[in-house]
Symmetry: C2
Subunit: 467 residues, 2 copies
């Protein structure tokens, strides 16, 4: 008792672990409190070190992140979806996120499907398109089932041009695909399908696509997109919602070839203008690069590393390296963000798009510490961006050896989300994303931040325990 | 006495002001020490608030920084030095820094003068050129006496093409001039004059210059360089020794016009390649922009704000707003930096060039906090870059309202070096710079950091007291 008297006789410094309210009541009495941000795991599970079959999970995960980090991502050309995407067929529409039926599709994905039907000439009006989509005559499949990714609605139809990104690393030989970024405003990926949306897609297919394809194919060895991502991370991009440096560097990389291979000077000017007017142009290159980099990790037995995080606007789904065919799905979350003038949270569709492949591959939200200016687009203050990256180290298996963050003294970005760590710490991956209007035909209304739903990770963890 | 016993009976926390060694001896005894980095002023002077004539210095300085911050800097075209630079005459050579004679010129400035003589056809060999330069037949004047600035040797001869940057703000109507950046390696600005150096300058005059001039003049309203600087500061540049984002953004700004106004596709490709291969290309635009922005502050009676900092490789000189015609000069310092393979500090020429106009205008070294990746080029760690900016707030009169630093929560960069504050605090402006070989004809050997010499500021302060 004497000792306790002694203790309370001196000024106290209190360390408060967890619930904020305890700290506040102590602080109210003028006592200094150090807060430790601790959340108990939502899931009381023993540490998983081996699968039932005896596979060393730590070793499997090390191999998964090694493959992702050491991969290549080279733009080798463009192609028409039906001609280059494996398994793409007539009357097939690819979409972002896990599998979904027309009945369960959210407004903006429905809007993009309607737009694709008009673009393909399968329907003359939006009503006709909606009837066609509901009739069962179309096949809907996730981009991720076809080595592809798509931002927001992520809709790809057979005659759309796509980028082709090759990963020709030692043990890999895979390609990933993505449509070209349409720009800002009313665009298909945010669910718009007005005549000007379709008209712009046609221009992209007839002018932009051939010009870029000729330019890229004339560059010996292609364009190293992984290298451009690494450079852009030194320049304030995180290459998910800030792609201004990446867009600029890509233009530098292709402009000479574009000049030499284009038919006329006006085409060069138009193509350059199209790229220059859209600071998100590079997103549709950083995304398939991430897809190309992560695919070689799929199928590593026993690995609990996430290889896919994707949302269709209704569901959020993840897949892990050790169980590459299974989706672990939960309802898509609501984004907290900044809204364009005239729109509010009430207009927002839930979280949507395959762009979370960037976080999966070790950049995007993982590298926000290097992109302080992004908070002007997604909300918060630069310290939040720094904190986001620092927190992600707790749930990742490694630090990237190529994607570095100057502001953190060139520390590698967090790489390889381990579902075990997510479940143990209760820390879900942080995402930053665009926000679509919930109704078809409107488009983007803002951008913001959220976390992946914990249920997906708990389900994946459970599945690994049972394997 | 009882009180003192009481004091030393409790655990002590010591605040040590100034000399590091005191702190270390206390710390060695296990006592917690908070260091305060304090240097006594080298100059024991009362605070100067009014000139002898009664002018309120604080108000004069506020007007100076207001003019600098509110200025414009628009690229309106290019021209040939003799045709566009006021006072430029035949057989005249402009150079960086304060006035200097051929006899006192350092090796690389002599090298650049020799190169200029060869370029102009005034001499056939380097010996002939040196004889001509020593003969008194040439006129040497500072760039700064002709509304111009030049990086490193800063040599401008009559037939060289120059950028024209206009400041058409409300109370200003001035233009600034700068040659085009030649790229890396053996280049005139670092004192090289080999045949390939002259050949490249000729290509720049005959191909690059007309193509860029046509492109720039076709753009309605010109190219807003101040705006590009502000954007580049969000993208990891500080626009003195890191200009990668600025170079990229400038290319984006002119590429469509370049495509539309060039004679053929190969010229477009060559011009774009030339820009793309040199991440410092934008330096020769950020420098004259800084010059255009700072000139309107010159001549504000009673202002102690620095309007020029410049080095000729022998002397370092400053000028202040209140005494715009007077140079305050001290020996140029030795740069601490990173050297290219094969070179050491023994090869280095002292500090050189007009590029410190960037720090004068509120970016460059002032904005290093936003450019953590620059340390890979100039040395140090990212924390040093952050500290450099934070320290500069102590000697500047204001914070810029347009040049913002995301990493400091979008705080404005330190703007307007006040010689009074420099003298009072003993903190000299920090600079980052390229390093030239001390011999003529060699070129760049590295890049690094240093401070401006305190003597210049003390002399300027003294002169203001006497005014």
């Amino acid at each position: 008792m004497a000792n306790i008297q002694d203790l309370f006789g001196k000024p106290l410094t209190v360390v408060n672990i967890g619930l904020q309210t305890f700290a506040e009541s102590v602080r109210a009495q003028g006592v200094e409190v150090v807060d430790v941000d601790f959340r108990p795991s939502p899931y009381d599970a023993p540490r998983l070190t081996r699968t039932r079959a005896g596979v060393d999970i730590e070793a499997a995960n090390a191999e998964a992140v090694r493959r992702i980090a050491s991969g290549k991502a080279v733009l080798i050309g463009l192609g028409i979806a039906r001609e280059v995407i494996p398994g793409m067929r007539d009357k097939m529409i690819l979409h972002a996120g896990p599998p979904i039926t027309w009945e369960r599709m959210c407004g903006p994905v429905r809007g993009a499907v309607i737009g694709a039907c008009l673009y393909e000439g399968w329907a003359r009006t939006s009503d006709e398109a909606a009837q066609l989509a509901a009739s069962g005559a179309l096949t809907f499949e996730p981009c991720h089932h076809h080595h592809a990714v798509g931002p927001m609605a992520g809709v790809v139809s057979p005659s759309m041009p796509v980028w082709i990104i090759e990963n020709a690393a030692r043990e890999a030989s895979n390609c990933a695909f993505c449509t070209l970024n349409e720009g800002l405003g009313k665009v298909l990926r945010f669910g718009a399908f007005a005549p000007e949306v379709i008209e712009k897609l046609k221009w992209m297919a007839t002018t932009l696509y051939p010009a870029l394809d000729r330019a890229v194919r004339s560059i010996d060895g292609g364009v190293d997109i992984k290298n451009l991502i690494a450079q852009a991370l030194y320049m304030g991009d995180e290459c998910h919602n800030r792609n201004k440096a990446g867009t600029s560097l890509f233009l530098r990389a292709i402009a000479p070839a574009l000049a030499r291979t284009s038919e006329d000077r006006e085409t060069i000017a138009k193509v350059v203008e199209f790229i220059d007017r859209n600071d998100h142009f590079f997103l549709n290159l950083s995304m398939p690069a991430a897809k190309a980099l992560t695919e070689p990790a799929e199928g590593i037995q026993g690995s609990t590393i996430v290889t896919t995080m994707a949302r269709n606007g209704t569901d959020f789904g993840i897949r892990i390296a050790g169980l590459p065919e299974r989706w672990f799905v939960a309802p898509a979350g609501q984004v907290k963000g900044l809204y364009f003038p005239g729109f509010t949270e009430a207009d927002a569709n839930p979280d949507m798009g395959d762009s979370t492949i960037t976080e999966t591959a070790g950049f995007g939200g993982m590298a926000m510490a290097g992109a302080p200016a992004i908070v002007k687009f997604v909300g918060g203050v630069p310290q939040d961006a720094l904190d986001a990256t620092l927190e992600m180290y707790d749930i990742c298996a490694a630090e990237h050896d190529t994607f570095l963050i100057p502001a953190l003294n060139f520390r590698g970005a967090p790489l390889g989300i381990d579902v075990r760590r997510v479940v143990e710490t209760g820390i879900a991956p942080r995402l930053n994303t665009g926000i679509a209007h919930k109704d078809p035909g409107v488009g983007q209304v803002g951008a913001g931040l959220l976390r992946a739903p914990m249920e997906c990770f708990v389900a994946a963890f459970e599945a690994m325990r049972e394997t």
